[in-house]
């Protein structure tokens, strides 16, 4: 540990008791350590086994230890399935590394399987020759049956190609906790910490962050603190003492930019971005939403920020939420709603009202696998065309895509700036993978965050024209109710140019339709130039958007490392496209568009640029593996 302290200062000094504990364990000489650049591991168990918590602890600790990390939680479908069943399995994958990483990793090298169902549903992802750590206590006849195993996979050769580490974790944990006054059932619940301790030893992780966290989490309940701490240390000690592992591994700190960091999920980043937007605009943020997986955490998060000017409303449904957003925008607030696919469908009519009324607002869509209810806890990029086209009439809105968990912060700020600057609704596309996935985030320099300009006209002598536009943005003025002298009426009927009166005039309708379209195009004038990763021209351009960023960027990097002529453009601005995109596309021989859908960006690109781009499409409810993208690139170069 000590050598790390130079580069990594922890916020709070470790509590003395914890240091002691650490010392005690370290009395025995540590087994040999082996350096690794990156490691991917996965915890899997029953929903009741606390795997999400275990995974989050491992990833927090790794982040604090200076690694770059990327995580992939994979929790069960909506319903709490029966204990021990396959639908009840919950898993958490962590990629931690001494170099910059962008994905949670393709294949874990260690799988911790707390029961047969967890083994069954996760084994196929394990690296050939990888380690399986199984909790043998859970491999009872009943549990095997629930997992549809005819015979125990521990005996029948199923695991022949892996390194099996079979440990009666529950038993050992119970023994360790014998002295603590806790019923067996309760004591059992800490077995995840026993497993965590084991893995901490294996990958040479510091114990302090988790010990500190236990103190906070169970503050006031000393018995639980004691029990969990004991479990963690027991697992750690077992690994060291039992010599089941011949070696342990070290993943050194990543050479990441200096600064203050925090771990952040995609949904958390969106939350922080929304709150920051309000502060930067010096106005209130109104977030109206109806709960839906995987967007609910944005509501949960924002509802804790009243003190920083956020008002959240849990609306009666998605339509109401969007109606409230339109009303709040009319009232001059920074109005935002969040939802997932089916909710976006429901919001369409009210979004269209914002289009016609030309009111600024932000709609966050954390996509999930569709169509219909689909697979609510699984990720997909299936709503791009819905976002662009899913409203009646010619209804232009801007669409931005979030690319990594932490990018949520930036994307929300940009969305608000765009909405307010052009008086348009802006849709942000995130997805379940980003929403739940986490990565370390360098907290931005506060001074670097520019204010959001909120311009509300004041009433003057001259008559007010609610549809008179600014030349550079084509935005109409945002005059807010309560301002004397600017009284006016708006609505969903076609508006007369300049005056905003209702108009059925044919030529006016054409003009207004053109203006709304033009206004949208103007947004692209405010984009920075498109960044090309790799050479500015070549054989293959890989074009992607949204959550596939990490896998695609990594794959392209790898292939370029192999000497292939391949570059990567990742689109933040999916509608309207950047002005320079067509020209860049034209500089490449072929274009590959990997997406987690049937080919939606592909569709837009083909139409916009008449280029025979090809798609790499996957609709499995889970993200791309780097290898999948890389192998397609290799086929094409």
């Amino acid at each position: 540990m000590d050598e790390k302290l130079g580069r990594i200062r922890r916020q709070q000094a470790a509590a003395p008791g914890i240091m002691m504990a650490k010392k005690k364990i370290s009395d025995k000489p540590s087994s040999t350590g082996e350096d690794r650049e990156s490691v991917v591991i996965r915890f899997a168990g029953d929903s009741g086994d606390g795997m999400q918590l275990t995974g989050r602890q491992f990833s927090n600790t790794s982040a604090i230890a200076g690694n770059d990390i990327s995580t992939l939680p994979d929790f069960p479908a909506e319903i709490r399935a029966p204990a021990g069943s396959i639908p009840g399995v919950s898993a958490y994958q962590i990629h931690f590394s001494s170099v910059d990483i962008l994905t949670p990793g393709d294949e874990p090298e260690v799988l911790v399987a707390m029961n047969p169902a967890a083994l069954k549903s996760n084994l196929h992802d394990l690296k050939p020759d990888g380690r399986v750590i199984v909790n043998t206590d859970a491999f009872t006849g009943a549990n095997l049956k629930k997992a549809n195993y005819e015979a125990s996979p521990l005996d029948d050769g199923t695991l022949a190609s892996f390194q099996v580490i079979a440990i009666p974790i529950a038993t050992l944990n119970a023994k360790a906790l014998e002295g603590i006054d806790l019923p067996r059932k309760e004591a059992d619940r800490s077995k995840n910490l026993w497993a965590l301790g084991l893995l901490y030893w294996l990958y040479d992780r510091p114990l302090e962050p988790t010990l500190r966290w236990l103190e906070r989490k169970f503050a006031g309940n000393d018995i639980l603190i004691e029990a969990n701490r004991t479990a963690l240390l027991a697992g750690y000690a077992y690994a060291e003492a039992s010599e089941i592992f011949t070696t342990h591994f070290r993943v050194r700190e990543a050479l990441i930019a200096p600064g203050r960091y925090r771990k952040i999920t995609g949904n958390e980043a969106l939350v922080l971005g929304c709150v920051a937007a309000g502060i930067l605009a010096k106005t209130q943020v109104i977030y109206a939403s109806y709960p839906i997986t995987p967007a609910s955490e944005i509501l949960h998060g924002l509802s804790t920020y009243r003190r920083l000017g956020v008002r959240t409303v849990q609306a009666e449904d998605e339509i109401a939420a969007m109606g409230m957003v339109v009303g709040a925008a009319f009232g001059g607030g920074l109005a935002v709603t969040g939802t997932s696919g089916p909710g976006l469908a429901l919001k369409a009519e009210a979004i269209n009202l914002a289009v016609m009324a030309e009111l600024p607002c932000v709609i966050i869509n954390v996509q999930r696998a569709g169509p219909s209810t689909g697979m609510p806890t699984k990720t997909e990029q299936g709503d791009l065309l819905q976002a662009v086209f899913g409203r009646n009439g010619e209804s232009p809105v801007a669409v931005l895509a979030q690319s990594t968990p932490s990018d949520g912060f930036d994307v929300v700020l940009e969305a608000f700036r765009t909405a307010v600057r052009h008086m348009v609704p802006v849709i942000i596309l995130s997805d379940g993978y980003l929403g739940n996935g986490a990565e370390p985030w360098k907290i931005p320099d506060i001074e670097s965050l520019e204010p959001i300009d909120m311009f509300h006209p004041e009433g003057g002598g001259k008559p007010f024209h609610p549809y008179e536009r600014a030349a550079d943005t084509l935005a109409r003025p945002w005059a807010i109710p309560g301002t004397a002298g600017l009284e006016h009426r708006i609505g969903g009927l076609e508006k007369e140019d300049v005056t905003g009166d209702v108009s059925y005039d044919p030529a006016n309708h054409q003009r207004m339709t053109d203006l709304r379209r033009e206004k949208l195009k103007k947004i692209a004038d405010f984009y920075p130039p498109v960044e090309v990763d790799g050479d500015g021209e070549g054989d293959l351009l890989v074009l992607s958007w949204g959550s596939t960023f990490g896998a695609v960027r990594t794959a392209v990097g790898k292939c370029r490392g192999e000497g292939r002529s391949v570059s990567h453009v990742h689109l933040r601005h999916v509608h309207p496209f950047p002005n320079d995109l067509g020209e860049i596309i034209g500089r490449f021989g072929r274009v590959l568009i990997p997406e987690l859908n049937g080919g939606q960006l592909l569709f837009l690109i083909r139409s916009a640029y008449l280029v025979g781009a090809e798609g790499l499409n996957k609709v499995e409810g889970r993200p791309f593996m780097v290898a999948e993208v890389a192998s397609r690139i290799r086929e094409m170069t």
Binding site: I8, Q11, G66, I256, R262, I279, V313, I446, P481, A484
Partner: protein
């Protein structure tokens, strides 16, 4: 909530008339309601620019265009949600919702209920003409069962909903009813709604002389209305008829109309209590001609903290003055760590 402090000339009725040509059919009941609202709003001591009229879609929903203040003619059925968002963002405004029986009770029924139960401080005027006016004459949720309309040539099979019952069941704190042509009474009810703290709901019987002419004539016509309409007054016995010679009393848990001898008071009349949480209000609201006179006036007027007030209690809504400080507290709270030198 409402800022009455500034020192400007009190607005007049004229100030609230917009320059838009009014586009309802001649003799439509909507005119009279517009006129009463334009009469009342200048008397409330609220600046003109603080008023916002939000409507859905329907004939009645063109209302905002005719009010010379802020207005939003939104989409069908959703006006309560837009009004809610507006009020949450901008609590200083006086927010009114103008809606029709189809707008409020068919497509918009759920939003109406939820706005009411939240006790949002908005005023909802439901123009009930028991028909879809704008789409040219289909039956509405308040149309009588068996009604023949364009969409029900053999008569509608639906039983009507009762707007006041629904509003009461939705826990509305102010619930009233009025009639388009009974203008003085209408004005009084509008004024009370305006002054109520919390959500206020008024059902207004409104004649659509094109598609449902005379829907309420049976009891509202000038020559019969004294015998067929009862005006509720707080703390007063529920009486009607010539010189109040008839009244309503409760017998065996049901209502009953009674008459007095000449010059006497009808016996045992219910004393109307707007503040009661009992459900006599339901029964009064559901009296129907010819069995009973039709009741107008305020059925319920309760005081409960509004949505906005309850939110305010939860903490300071205003944004801390110092941007950098606020951002720091936002971003640096929770578990963080430093790489290199900060």
């Amino acid at each position: 909530m409402i800022d009455r402090s500034k020192n400007r000339a009190t607005p007049t009725r004229k100030d609230f008339q917009s320059n838009q040509e009014v586009r309802w059919c001649p003799a439509c009941g909507d005119y009279s309601i517009l006129s009463q609202v334009q009469k009342i709003v200048p008397t409330l001591g609220i600046e003109k620019e603080k008023f916002v009229f939000v409507s859905g879609i329907g004939c009645s929903s063109r209302f905002p265009y005719y009010m010379n203040t802020y207005g939003f003619h939104t989409i069908h059925g959703r006006a309560p949600t837009i009004a809610t968002g507006l009020k949450v963002a901008n609590p200083d405004l006086s927010v009114w919702v103008i809606t029709g029986d189809g707008d409020a009770l068919s497509i918009g029924g759920n939003h109406l209920i939820h706005a009411l139960r939240r006790n949002m401080d908005i005023k909802i005027l439901l123009f009930n003409n028991r028909i879809y006016g704008l789409t040219k004459g289909q039956y509405s949720p308040t149309s009588e069962q068996g009604k023949k309309t364009k969409s029900t040539p053999a008569g509608s099979p639906d039983y009507p909903v009762h707007p006041v019952s629904l509003a009461l069941a939705a826990e509305a704190t102010f619930v009233a009813r009025a009639i388009d042509t009974d203008t003085k009474h209408l004005a009084g009810v509008i004024e009370r709604a305006a002054r109520h703290r919390g959500s206020a709901f008024i059902e207004i019987f409104q004649n659509c002389n094109i598609f449902n002419d005379g829907a309420f004539d049976e009891f509202k016509a000038r020559d019969v209305r004294d015998e067929r309409v009862v005006r509720l007054e707080q703390g007063k016995p529920v009486r009607f008829g010539k010189e109040g010679g008839r009244g309503i009393r409760l017998r065996n848990c049901t209502l009953e109309a009674v008459s007095s001898g000449p010059g006497e008071e009808p016996p045992d009349c219910i004393v109307h209590d707007e503040k009661s949480r009992s459900f006599i209000a339901y029964m009064l609201a559901r009296m129907e001609y010819p069995e009973f006179p039709v009741a107008i006036g305020v059925f319920r007027d309760l005081e409960k903290p509004t949505y906005g007030e309850l939110l305010d209690e939860q903490g300071d809504f205003r944004i801390a003055g110092d941007t950098a400080e606020a951002l720091r507290s936002l971003l640096h709270t929770g578990e963080t760590w430093v790489v290199g030198n900060e």
